[in-house]
Point group: C2
């Protein structure tokens, strides 16, 4: 299993390459929660999300032969952009399989980082088939978005920096989708301060991790109709094992709680956070009675959100 | 006239009270502009804009008698919130005269900082009349939003921090409305590095400062129909004198250039910036041919923008 040494090694690999993102605080929010809240803002990470940490950590460890052949992923979200950017920095070819109906802005962003986009139909089968054919033909290495120890170790570097910067915490919150971020957060936090409570926050409308944690087996994510598009995935074997061992609790939040948390972050802290990125703070707001006067770390996972309609409306 | 010593004295007064806002950079934007761009993000200032610097600097210098009687301002913008917050920190009563039809969110924010809101009609006459009556009755001291040397010196502390943090600049951009921010920026910058070019950026649709600068006399701001609501005011005698002496150039930008600059700041830097706050960067984008490979400072003046409609649309 991943341990603190793996996280520290990942931190060395990404040093000077990934952004050491700022920890932000707000007296208004502290008053609102009744605690000292430290936000680790991965929205300011390269490619706009924590995903870059794990992607760079993984690709930089590939063999020379694997690097020469290139990597592949299927994603239309933050993993795609992060992997494309990490590969372009490392001189490795990246092919990203995306559904044909992906938002043009995401296609453009991923292509902008130098990846080759390969379109598939919007089904699990088509995605796997297209990726499988390309792997067979070109010998690409598949980089999974979360079910990989190198990805988890990379993700854990965010909590490592947070704790280095602000010291010991009583609670730490991270969102859970596939579980890469919260498992990396949990390993790092529990290794440094075993008494810190690690809480995963998840949308009610995509509560497969909550049920999996409760029942001890991985449930699939079925029709996860949540605004938090980054958290629609299900846990993997690697992340589930870590979560069972190191996470204390999973809290679920409603859609309006997610939007409310996001709105507070935008209006009060003036940071652009995507819905998935606000889920951890929605968990804090929901559980604030249990947090009184404590020190709370919150990982804001990313800031990639489609703003086209908003800006068009501004011009009238 | 205000000098660097006044700015340094203001910096001492606001130390530990105002936020020392972060200087942010983006490799994507550097590539886009072809220069090293350093953003001084006053959107992260207390009450969401640079205005808090001047407001606190001014109120903290009032006599005990003036403090005991209280202050008044007419504003429905960032000056109102900044003054209300500064007064609440200093235990001074603040009355803010606002048009009856001001956005409810602005009224609530200013009231939230502890100010008394006094409504007037939406005309210059009504505003002056209401304020005049209150001053006569209560002995309030009027705090002007920009035409005051203490306000200018306070505003200049943003550029002071920026230059302290990143060193000498080749160019520095600030928006111009009433001229408080750019005159404070110009005094600070030219005192520290006389060869740095100071550029004021202004909306084309509110180009009274541009014309005033060109013709050597203050023009009123007539029907300033720009999205940059913080820049609809006209220069004052105090700020105009400083601008004529210390600003090198005024650049005007179109509405779509303002929205485009704002969009880049939101999407690429993940910071919430109000339209007025993006005008300086719009000036940079417009003049980028003249900035090649140089070091450019950009003051982002604030981040207060109404997001009600945006968040309602998210919940469907």
């Amino acid at each position: 299993m991943v341990d603190l040494q793996d996280v520290r090694a990942a931190a060395e690999r990404i040093r000077g390459v990934a952004n050491r993102t700022p920890v932000m605080t707000s007296t208004t929010i502290d008053r609102m929660v009744g605690a000292n809240v430290f936000f680790k803002c991965e929205s300011f990470q390269k490619a706009g999300a924590f995903k870059f940490r794990g992607a760079f950590n993984t690709v930089s460890q590939l063999s020379e032969d694997e690097k020469a052949r290139g990597v592949i992923a299927h994603s239309s979200g933050n993993h795609a952009g992060a992997l494309a950017l990490a590969c372009s920095m490392l001189g490795v070819k990246a092919a990203i399989v995306m559904p044909r109906n992906s938002p043009p802005v995401k296609i453009a962003a991923t292509r902008g980082y130098g990846a080759e986009i390969v379109f598939c139909e919007n089904t699990v089968e088509s995605r796997a088939e297209v990726a499988g054919q390309l792997i067979k033909k070109h010998g690409y290495t598949l980089v999974h978005p979360y079910n990989d120890e190198r990805i988890v170790a990379g993700a854990g570097t965010a909590a490592l920096e947070l704790i280095e910067d602000v010291g010991e915490l009583d609670h730490i919150y991270a969102p859970v989708g596939g579980g890469g971020l919260v498992s990396g957060t949990a390993i790092t936090t529990k290794s440094l301060n075993p008494q810190t409570r690690v809480i995963a926050a998840e949308p009610e409308k995509a509560d497969d991790a909550y049920r999996s944690f409760r029942d001890g087996r991985i449930y699939p994510s079925v029709h996860p109709d949540t605004i938090a598009d980054g958290l629609r995935t299900q846990l993997g074997e690697v992340t589930f094992r870590i979560i069972r061992e190191h996470v204390d609790e999973i809290v679920t939040v409603a859609e309006d709680e997610i939007v409310n948390a996001m709105r507070i972050l935008w209006e009060r802290m003036k940071i652009v956070v995507e819905p998935s990125g606000a889920v951890s703070f929605a968990g804090v707001l929901k559980m604030k009675a249990a947090l009184e006067s404590s020190r709370v770390g919150v990982i804001i996972s990313g800031g990639n959100i489609e703003l086209d309609r908003f800006f068009k409306s501004l011009l009238g």
